[in-house]
Symmetry: C2
Subunit: 446 residues, 2 copies
């Protein structure tokens, strides 16, 4: 160990520092593995997260470890790579170094792949009164809230209190919002029915709200419409063209309608983190850096920005969307350009190969847009399942993945339906057991 570490530190090979171990950063690191450069990859977490399935963790279908992979487990075997669990504070381009929470890190080439985080468009109270879904902690918090709401409903005396517990409001009808809406309906309809006594989980109300006129706005309109109908068919109330006016404690207000609920899910907005501001370069409205054709900053060929942190528009009508395939291709291309430069060659411009997009809208139903192939429903879902399974393999032993999936995703894994974390106490004290005191007079003879 010691020696290989020494190699890296003392080496006069060019050093590449990668910020972020998401799809973009991890794929850049892989491309640079075993090459004639030293790689430092920095992330605040020690794992790579398979974001597209995070909603499955939030709805207790999968566990965090099913969709997370320790970065060391992926890159640990490469002697020219160092994994650094640390928080990025700032980038100092003048001195070509990165300032971390603990220590700093000089670079010859920098790949900024810090991605996006949840952004609230509204007063601070909105953040307090709703839960986002961007991190593993978010997902576990959501899982706790959703499952606890059913437990509270089971014990609720007052019918209003009960329906409040059984109402789930999702703000934002992008892929995450649509997936969450479908998944919550399914837990209620197919799982909870078996287990509860006083509530009929069919009473569960799931409301999907968006200010825009269409769900899944990145899809062609006809697909969006089909997706909306499919989601509604599954019992989700879809409110489009409905900007949210307020998120209160246990309420969501849209126009003159106020919905009472215990669970508000914020799936409406993301933006880049504060590190971007230290890059001292032009950012767009979402905080993404405008990059040139080679994926570097216009005035700094040593600094690449890729994935959700980047705004790449060249000869396109709009910036590339924040999708995994985009991030993966950008990460690999940045790495290739660095290797070119190290060899003494010139950078090559990035070309995105559009593989299309897909998202689930419920169990056994998805929407896919591969350009030529457009589909909504079961066939689309089989494609979705296949693609995501292929991605996930390597996260765990292949057999385990397949069985976990067959078992947990199709047959509903029950083990994951455990509520971890501090219980909430935001529930009225009058909660009790329906009619217990009144109906229960007798006592067995002693």
């Amino acid at each position: 160990m010691a020696s290989s570490q020494h190699d890296i530190v003392a080496s006069d090979r060019p050093r590449v520092v990668i910020l972020g171990a998401g799809f973009a950063g991890l794929n850049a690191a892989r491309k640079l593995a075993k090459k004639d450069v030293d790689v430092f990859i920095v992330d605040r977490n020690n794992y790579h997260l398979f974001q597209p399935l995070l909603y499955q963790v939030a709805t207790a279908g999968l566990d965090p470890s099913d969709i997370s992979m320790p970065v060391r487990a992926v890159l640990g075997k490469y002697k020219n790579t160092r994994v650094v669990m640390n928080e990025v504070r700032a980038v100092d381009r003048q001195n070509k170094k990165v300032i971390l929470e603990r220590g700093e890190l000089p670079y010859d080439f920098l790949i900024v792949a810090t991605g996006a985080e949840t952004k609230y468009f509204g007063p601070d109270s909105w953040e307090k009164n709703s839960t986002p879904l961007k991190t593993v902690e978010d997902a576990l918090e959501l899982r706790r809230k959703i499952l606890t709401s059913f437990e509270m409903a089971e014990q609720a005396n007052d019918p209003d209190e009960r329906s409040e517990c059984l109402t789930f409001v999702i703000i934002g009808a992008g892929p995450t919002g649509v997936e969450m809406a479908g998944a919550i309906r399914e837990i209620a309809a197919e799982v909870m029915r078996r287990d509860f006594r006083t509530i009929d989980p069919e009473d569960t109300r799931v409301v999907l709200i968006d200010a825009q006129p269409h769900v899944l706005p990145t899809y062609p309109e006809e697909l969006s419409e089909k997706a909306r109908k499919e989601v509604e068919r599954r019992g989700v109330e879809v409110m489009v063209n409905s900007p949210v006016d307020d998120i209160g404690e246990n309420t969501v207000t849209v126009g003159d309608e106020t919905i009472r609920t215990h669970t508000v899910i914020w799936a409406a907005g993301v933006a880049t983190g504060s590190v971007m501001n230290t890059l001292d370069t032009e950012l767009d409205r979402m905080g993404r850096a405008r990059i040139d054709a080679n994926l570097t900053l216009p005035d700094d060929p040593h600094v690449f920005v890729v994935g959700d942190a980047a705004n790449f528009t060249h000869d396109l009508d709009e910036a590339l969307p924040g999708l995994a395939p985009v991030a993966i291709q950008m990460g690999k291309h940045a790495a290739k350009n660095i290797l070119r430069r190290v060899r003494g060659d010139d950078y090559e411009p990035f070309k995105y190969f559009d593989k299309g997009q897909m998202s689930t809208i419920g169990r056994a139903a998805a929407v896919v847009d591969f350009g030529k192939i457009k589909a909504v429903g079961f066939f689309a879902w089989v494609l979705w399942l296949f693609v995501h399974l292929m991605y996930l393999v390597g996260f765990k032993n292949r057999v385990v993945v397949l069985i976990e999936w067959a078992y947990s995703y199709l047959a509903f894994k029950r083990g994951s339906r455990i509520i971890i974390g501090e219980p909430e106490h935001d529930h009225p004290e009058e909660l009790a057991f329906p009619g217990v005191e009144s109906a229960h007079q007798h006592s067995t003879a002693q």
Copy 2:
């Protein structure tokens, strides 16, 4: 649903309220299923926890859902049973009802199976400066601390700082302490070695401290001694006859020796919770209720106390130990006694059938004491694995359990080695990268 709930509430069947869904409570509930009584089982969590494997969660070998089972998943199918996720505040024996955090619950028969919780024998600072291992939250917190310590060691400049990160102190050499000590050594030696650059995880120091003269004190002395030798052979420092004088921030003091460490695990003491005091009955030093031969309170034949909450000594030299088999047998017996009484028969005294005890002392090594069969080592471990596998089956699909186990317990499941929760900031700021600044002068020509 509604109807079955109504049946329960309006029924004039005797009502049995069970407090706690551990081994004792869950087995009592199972015995009462489908019988001519109404059962309410109350627990602050919505799951039953397989405590014997909690240390595996703390050491990232298994996930919480591998050893937890939603109570509803076990009892949901029984129409005469209601699962109540709620916190028990007090027992009101005069009015034969239980006071819960939300609402109250009258009973005809009460089974108190609230178990034990972590107890600190020392100043409050000890609780602040160490982590117990009794709940899922404890286990995840410990996992985070252990894995983070290795990450911090990887980045430590100062050798003292590094060895502090790599030192793990376990207070209490009972089964939990011994299992933790063995498991941490293994992570370090067999797993971490592959993944780290600047540290040699072999430098990991694991110290197991106990005030008593023997590890695993519930075992015969000769077995304890063999177990200690086996643990030491695996690189654990065992300090017996060593009462802890102080637990400071990053230090543990024993006599005139002060050990610097980032991770202190408290496995020293348990006691019953505050509910026991409301029982208005005689409790022993550990807060356990002294019960009569039928497992009921001496002055109240309607209130049973079982499992870790009970002190059962009849014709024994000492109270039955807090082991799973004891709790399971007590829970079933209490249920049987209630059914006898409901039929009009008399209670029967409890007889414990001693199946012996077993615990692991490291991968592929355990100690078993079945009376006739006494063993330490691999054979004992195979027995241990078999028994625990049989218990766990039913928690998950049998195939999944077997594969997860083969994969995670033998081949080290890497996916679980993810650090969840807020990162700690109790680490010195001077942490940085060994020699980076100094050794790294050049810059690639642009």
